[in-house]
């Protein structure tokens, strides 16, 4: 209860985003990502969209003007792998194929990590189901519109996805003896327990999905002929897989080793669908050619490795190798913490493999936008795109920089100065609540 009160206070304190008619940010170093860097640049925002980008833009009457002298403006960052704002567990782990469940149903707009991510310059997240199943749940792309409802967070027009997972995670429940399963987990072992079984689950599910699609096609054909057959039973597990087969839903596949990556590409080829993104994919660098040929892309960690055996052959040069071999790459967080500084994760690719500044920035802006097919709306500072912008006090690829202000659709969702201003008042209110809560005697101190 106390926590809710405090959160409510926090919300009221920081959701001050104003809907200005027009906004002109001027004198910034504008990192457009796709059209180079404009020193002393200006960005004009009208109706939530970027109206103009240039050197000398004048503000229409009544526009809010932000003087960004000495500061850097970049597109709001995009995280292609997030579990933020998921209420409760991220895994429906009881079945090997949980494609019937949907993250959209469990979005929690009150998750404080939304605000914390905004404060690092993040504006869009691909919110994924966990990796406990070969075929996991349905996924959703959101804008971090802190203070709005779950419905309002959805990224309009972004194609939905589905999570797949290969390797250690989906097979884990298949080989742990029931005696050592932690409390609260199902006692029975669950198929699959090997990488071979993971492949089998995916192939079996897509065989079923194809049969299911044929049943419906046959049904519709009969209806078209004027017959009155009984429709096939609607199958909520197979529906999203049919959407995958029809290219209406993207596959985001958690994977590590090169063998399983190749396996998945071949299964997809066989079944007639595409893998949109390979997630984590720490060994993707070994099969860059095959990934490029399939048309898949990779969303990976900047430098994670060695936390488990399938991450032992990782190298932070993964990003550079894939980039040089023509694979579209993004750097993601998979973490409430890491999503707070994706710009710094991108910067590591300059040390590990010598990516240019533009290539590094693309890893967390236009590249993930392309992966999610929202690059016509976000991911760069260009006229016509949404005004999702992040203002930094230094170059965002410098470890000494921090985000100062963040806008989504031209609305301001984070302002560091305002955050700092509200703190004393917030602390007072919080203390008053705590004093009420701790009405009883204090604990004795030691000795």
């Amino acid at each position: 209860m106390r926590r809710i009160c405090v959160l409510a206070l926090l919300l009221s304190a920081i959701v001050g985003n104003s809907a200005a008619e027009a906004l002109l940010i001027r004198n910034a170093t504008v990192l457009t990502v796709t059209k180079g860097t404009i020193p002393n640049g200006s960005v004009l925002v009208e109706d939530g969209k970027i109206a103009a980008v240039g050197e000398n833009l004048s503000a229409p009457a009544g526009a809010t003007i932000v003087d960004a002298s000495g500061k850097y403006l970049m597109p709001g960052m995009i995280d292609c792998h997030s579990h933020t704002a998921i209420e409760g567990g991220v895994n429906e782990g009881t079945v090997s194929d949980s494609s019937m469940v949907n993250i959209e149903d469990v979005l929690d707009p009150m998750d404080i990590n939304i605000y914390r991510a905004l404060a690092g310059g993040l504006t869009v997240s691909n919110v994924l189901h966990g990796s406990a199943n070969a075929i996991g749940g349905q996924t959703v792309v959101v804008k971090l519109r802190w203070g709005k409802t779950a419905q309002d967070m959805l990224f309009a027009g972004a194609k939905p996805g589905i999570k797949f997972a290969l390797g250690e995670n989906p097979k884990r429940q298949g080989y742990v003896p029931p005696s050592v399963l932690p409390p609260g987990r199902p006692a029975a072992r669950r198929y699959p327990g090997t990488r071979m079984g993971v492949e089998d689950v995916i192939r079996e599910s897509f065989m079923e999905a194809k049969n299911y699609r044929e049943d419906w096609q046959a049904y519709r054909a009969r209806v078209a002929r004027g017959e009155h057959p009984l429709p096939p039973r609607k199958d909520l597990r197979l529906e999203p897989l049919v959407e995958v087969l029809e290219g209406k839903r993207y596959v985001h596949a958690h994977c590590y080793r090169s063998d399983e990556i190749l396996m998945l590409l071949r299964v997809a080829d066989e079944m007639g669908f595409k893998i949109r993104t390979l997630q984590h994919a720490l060994e993707a660098y070994k099969v860059a050619r095959e990934i490029a040929e399939h048309g898949a892309s990779v969303s990976t960690f900047s430098d994670w490795w060695s936390y488990k055996i399938e991450a032992y052959d990782a190298t932070p040069y993964n990003v550079a190798i894939l980039t040089r071999k023509g694979v579209l790459v993004s750097v993601n967080s998979d973490s409430d913490e890491l999503q707070r500084h994706l710009n710094l994760e991108a910067a590591k690719s300059m040390r590990y493999g010598g990516l240019s500044e533009a290539e590094a920035l693309a890893l967390v802006t236009i590249n993930p936008a392309k992966q999610l097919a929202i690059d016509d709306k976000v991911g760069s500072i260009e006229a016509g795109k949404s005004a999702d912008l992040a203002l930094f006090d230094g170059h965002p690829l410098s470890n000494y920089s921090k985000a100062l202000r963040v806008w989504i659709d031209g609305h301001e969702y984070f302002d560091r100065d305002k955050d700092l201003e509200t703190r004393p008042d917030f602390e007072r209110k919080k203390k008053a609540l705590e004093d009420k809560d701790n009405g009883g005697p204090r604990l004795p101190t030691r000795r």
């Binding site: 052959d313 913490e337 910067a347 000494y400």
Partner: protein, 430 residues
């Protein structure tokens, strides 16, 4: 790319006379030298003889048969120190067979991280590629599972170069690692429900008492040994406590919260032992307590989430600056293995949020050295110190900077690793 080639060409070193490859003498010329303990000096040479810095000056004449490194356009810094890791003791976190952390038992002061430090761990090369020349490896993970750990053993300060752990050890018993008791209602194991407050409080009180009793035992042992009592028998556990009781070995006390820090300071006052506060998550009102007693702090990761939902979003980022402003000497650790190489970025993040940049660099060099009791040997570019040096093309705390060359005790060490070898191998795949 062209720029890279030019720098690479500049880095190419020349040799005067024939000298064995593993020589620990070298003359580095024309570098921008950052001594850390003094202002930056342009176009300067540093001469290292037999592993130690022998001279620093604008124009040092090459001695016969000494290797010369022309560092024009490059910066020379002392090697960075990560003051708290588990490097060498843990290879693959999820595979227990490869992990030697958290021995069973509450009191294990006789355990030595140094002698279990695997000199062939892949993490050594990976970590030093980021400009880190030495690390403290702690025998505990810091896990507070059910308060099952108190003294986990002795953390060792290790050079990230050497054929054996013995050669790598700079100070094998650098710190005694103590997980200070706290009231922790967290679950006893993953998936279990949280424990009732009453139980947690009881366990906290019990642990404090056990800790006090253990120190009392150690003192009696110390007296018996000094008195050469006729029935005296050696006890390895208690004997290992003597350097602590004598104030020669600091206790690295892991204390997350304000209350634990206060408790730890009270404990140190009462036991008259030297302590370092390790991995705190908040400062609260403990600044003056620490400052007054000259108790330093090894900060944990800046890149973590605030402890509580309603903490300021930047609380972990500003923590270093809060301790610094309170007059407390700080350095940095990462308390893990895979991100041990990122300690520079942790310090830079603290600098983005209020820690002066020069203090961030000092924290990673001279402060760590002083806090670990090796300020006379490591942590700055000064005559007489060990030749632990890095040559870079910029600020070593920036990810955009490349570490070009490294010397540990004067010996050039390779910056190749498992990661660079994979890179070179797989870039060649047709």
């Amino acid at each position: 790319m062209k720029q890279l080639c030019v720098v690479a060409a500049l880095v190419c070193s020349t040799r005067v006379g024939a000298q064995p490859v593993d020589s620990n003498s070298v003359l580095i010329r024309n570098a921008t030298v950052h001594p850390v303990t003094g202002p930056e000096i342009q176009n300067t040479s540093v001469l290292i003889l037999d592993g130690r810095i022998a001279e620093i000056g604008p124009k040092l004449a090459p001695k016969a048969s000494i290797r010369i490194v022309d560092a024009r356009g490059l910066h020379l810094y002392p090697g960075l120190i990560n003051a708290a890791t588990n490097v060498g003791l843990s290879e693959i976190q999820a595979l227990r067979d490869t992990v030697d952390l958290d021995e069973l038992g509450l009191f294990n002061p006789e355990l030595r991280a140094a002698s279990a430090f695997n000199p062939s761990s892949e993490h050594i090369e990976v970590t030093r590629a980021a400009g880190i020349t030495s690390v403290v490896s702690l025998p505990g993970s810091g896990s507070r599972r059910a308060g099952a750990l108190l003294i986990t053993g002795q953390g060792a300060l290790m050079h990230l170069d050497g054929w054996t752990w013995e050669e790598m050890a700079v100070k094998p018993g650098a710190v005694m690692d103590l997980v200070f008791p706290e009231i922790n209602t967290g679950p006893a194991q993953a998936g279990a429900p949280p424990r009732p407050y009453k139980d947690a409080l009881q366990q906290y009180t019990d642990r404090l008492q056990e800790l006090g009793e253990f120190f009392e035992q150690a003192r009696r042992y110390q007296k018996a040994m000094a008195a050469r009592a006729p029935d005296f028998r050696r006890d390895l556990r208690l004997e290992a406590m003597i350097p602590v009781l004598e104030g020669l070995q600091p206790i690295a006390i892991r204390a997350e919260r304000e209350r634990s820090i206060r408790d730890a300071v009270a404990f140190a006052d009462e036991e008259k032992v030297k302590i370092i506060i390790v991995d705190p998550r908040e400062i609260g009102g403990t600044g003056p307590l620490l400052k007054e007693r000259h108790i330093p702090v090894i900060l944990g990761r800046a890149f973590q989430l605030p402890m509580r939902d309603d903490d300021p979003y930047d609380a972990p980022y500003t923590l270093a600056a809060q301790f610094y402003r309170a007059g407390v000497k700080v350095c940095f650790g990462t308390f893990d293995v895979q991100f041990a190489r990122n300690v520079g970025f942790e310090a830079a993040q603290a600098a983005a949020f209020g820690l002066p940049r020069d203090v961030a660099l000092r924290a990673l060099t001279i402060n760590s050295a002083e806090i670990l009791g090796v300020g006379d040997r490591l942590g700055s570019i000064e005559k007489g110190k060990l030749g632990d040096l890095i040559l870079t093309d910029g600020d070593p705390l920036e990810a955009r900077t490349n570490i070009k060359q490294m010397f540990i005790a004067g010996r050039e060490v390779s910056l190749e690793s498992r990661h660079t070898r994979e890179y070179e191998k797989w870039m060649k795949r047709p």
